[in-house]
């Protein structure tokens, strides 16, 4: 038991205590608390909660590492994951808020007037959230495994148990305020090391302004080492792959059920717009820092680790070599570790950086707590989405419509426990790197929900047959492309599995439009409801007229 271990453990236990305390304090009492936090969360706090919900282990642990390894080509993740908020906030969130339901499948079921559509959407929610949560469990395994210096599989099991416990306890209301706390923990943890590194390397405490000079020096080093330059575009994949990945992440963002549901927790369409803006500002703090992180880490590795004698490597290398995620091999046998002989896995860059930059035990402990906050908050949101689909969209609305609130809460809680443990089991042997697994979840969302919601909100002619065919085709095309590209080596224009969403979304939109036009239009009531979404709450569209509710008399009944 060294100091490092004790400090990290204290940080993690302290923050866990905080989250669990908040969850207990805000324990869900009513159904609407459990699903949508009673719908009264102020936009700025909702922005933080969206930030924590959204920024997963992939953002915290994986993204900087991905940019470091891929250079410019990794920036597709930065632009894709932030740009999705434009689609979400402009085209979906306020309108979905006005429609006023508990879950995204419920919106699809009621908007298209079809239980089948709702059940398919519920199934898609479960598949997407489950895939995504495998990435989170895997991330918490990396952190706990490194911290306890045990196999990361044991870490994964511990992480899964913790997630199951507090998500089941608090529901959406507990999770909202826990996520606000988690946002603060994770952003502080992310910014402290990058600010210190910036001071060390450039004497400037603002990494966002200072890392341009580091990039310049690195370009010279790249040329000296004769390796492909960090800033040169499209060295890791084609330009089409870059664009396809960016589209997949953007459209996926606009269709992720666990993120959309956070917009249901505010009071109005206006609050939904402001939530989106605050959310991206808070998210931007991390996303603008990730490329700086990547540049600084790579620079330190190039100048301080590469070129040293292999038997005099810093102590931190050994513990990461033990986890199997860092490889140092003196292939040419000259006793010196060359840059080319150093292989570092994407997922450990951020966690290892405080050690690489020699930042001391407190920063490392803080990082561990921040990474856990990122993994836990997203996994918590995902578990709520899975549980809402199972207990509300499937159990309550299709199997047992007379179920009591208590019974539904029980089904919701048990589905969280089962889903977390099942995702934990798969994460014991994850099928890819964290960012890659997460990108699949986004591809699936852009192939199923993005088209269904986009057309559902903006095209009144889209009908039940259209959306059912669209979601099924979109999911099949996306899944098919992921498998064909990952295991079959099949690609179009060099687009690999992580860019599959572009094909899924296109196929789903075309199918939805063609099938809708070939079948009967939706009922007049549904078409009017869709037009009604164009206007703020106070305006109502009915029988071709728009009414404004000025509070002077009772609104006419439908």
């Amino acid at each position: 038991m060294d100091t490092q271990f004790l400090v990290s453990l204290a940080f993690i236990l302290g923050t866990f205590g905080l989250y669990i305390g908040i969850a207990i304090y805000n324990q869900a009492k009513a159904t609407s608390d459990f699903y949508v936090a009673g719908r009264g969360v102020p936009p700025i706090y909702n922005g933080m909660a969206i930030g924590a919900d959204w920024m997963s282990a992939a953002s915290f642990i994986g993204m900087a590492g991905t940019v470091m390894v891929m250079g410019y080509d990794g920036l597709g993740y930065i632009m894709g994951w932030t740009g999705g908020y434009l689609l979400l906030t402009f085209l979906m969130a306020p309108q979905l808020r006005k429609y006023g339901r508990y879950t995204v499948p419920e919106f699809i079921g009621d908007r298209y007037g079809s239980s089948t559509a709702r059940l398919i959407a519920a199934g898609a929610t479960i598949i997407i959230s489950f895939t995504y949560s495998i990435g989170q469990m895997s991330g918490s395994g990396v952190v706990i495994g490194r911290l306890l210096e045990v196999d990361y599989r044991i870490g994964t099991i511990i992480g899964a148990c913790l997630i199951a416990f507090y998500a089941a306890l608090g529901g959406m209301k507990g999770i909202t305020w826990t996520q606000v706390a988690q946002y603060i923990v994770l952003i502080v943890a992310y910014l402290v090391p990058v600010i210190f590194m910036s001071l060390q390397l450039t004497n400037n405490p603002a990494p966002w302004l200072s890392y341009g000079t580091v990039i310049e020096e690195m370009r010279a080093l790249d040329r000296e080492f004769g390796i492909s330059e960090y800033v040169v575009p499209f060295t890791e994949g084609t330009k089409w792959q870059f664009l396809a990945l960016m589209f997949t992440l953007m459209a996926g963002t606009a269709g992720l059920p666990h993120v959309i549901v956070r917009f249901y927790t505010v009071s109005t369409m206006k609050a939904a717009r402001w939530s989106g803006a605050w959310a991206l500002l808070f998210i931007g703090l991390l996303y603008l820092s990730a490329p700086a992180y990547a540049a600084f880490s790579r620079f330190i590795l190039m100048t301080q680790v590469a070129g040293s004698p292999i038997d005099q490597l810093p102590a931190w290398t050994t513990s990461w070599v033990d986890t199997g995620m860092l490889q140092v091999a003196d292939t040419d046998g000259d006793g010196i570790l060359q840059w080319q002989e150093l292989q570092i896995a994407n997922d450990i860059v951020v966690m290892a950086t405080p050690e690489i930059a020699n930042l001391g035990v407190f920063v490392i402990g803080l990082m561990a707590a921040g990474a856990m906050a990122a993994a836990l908050s997203t996994a918590g949101g995902l578990m709520i989405a899975i549980s809402a689909s199972l207990s509300h969209d499937i159990y309550f609305r299709s199997i047992n419509p007379n179920a009591s609130d208590k019974k539904r809460l029980a089904v919701g809680r048990w589905s969280i426990v089962i889903a977390s443990l099942a995702a934990g089991l798969i994460a014991l042997n994850p099928p890819g790197a964290i960012t890659q697994i997460v990108a699949w979840a986004f591809a699936l969302a852009s192939g199923s929900f993005f088209p269904a919601l986009l057309l559902g909100v903006w095209w009144k002619r889209s009908n039940a047959q259209g959306v059912i065919a669209g979601m099924l085709v979109g999911l099949s095309v996306t899944l098919g492309y992921i498998f064909a590209a990952k295991y079959g080596g099949f690609t179009i224009l060099g687009i690999i599995d992580t860019g599959a969403g572009v094909f899924g979304a296109t196929a789903a939109i075309l199918t939805n439009v063609i099938v809708s036009l070939a079948t009967k239009p939706p009922s007049k009531k549904i078409q009017e409801e869709v037009i009604d979404l164009r206007y703020p709450e106070q305006m109502t569209y009915r029988d071709g007229e728009v009414w404004i509710d000025d509070g002077n008399d009772v609104p006419p009944s439908r």
Binding site: L86, Y102, L243, R397, E545
Partner: protein, 100 residues
């Protein structure tokens, strides 16, 4: 409840959609546009960065954030101009929830 002139209601919707189309077009140019023209942009240097790298790492994200805040502020103004009362929206919004 009072009826609104159809023209007024339509022009509300048109104003909001036109603005959104403009924001989306700007967002598209700073992301997809800058990737499509990454090679020529890489010859320009900005604050130590080649321009294509700067746009990917910072420029696009900053633009997105600014667009979202402009949208929030401008939408509030448009709402006020059309006589929308946020307090009234809030009471309608919470009452209109479909509770099963």
């Amino acid at each position: 409840m009072r009826k609104i002139d159809k023209k007024v209601a339509d022009s509300y919707f048109k104003t909001r959609t036109t603005l959104i189309m403009i924001y989306l077009a700007i967002g598209f140019v700073v992301s997809y546009g800058c990737v499509l023209f990454a090679e020529p942009l890489s010859n320009i240097t900005f604050n130590g960065f080649p321009l294509h790298y700067y746009m990917g790492a910072q420029g696009a994200v900053l633009t997105f954030i600014i667009l979202l805040f402009i949208n929030a502020v401008v939408s509030d103004r448009v709402d006020r101009k059309y006589g929308i009362d946020e307090a009234r929206n809030e009471s309608i919004g919470s009452g209109k929830t479909v509770d099963h």
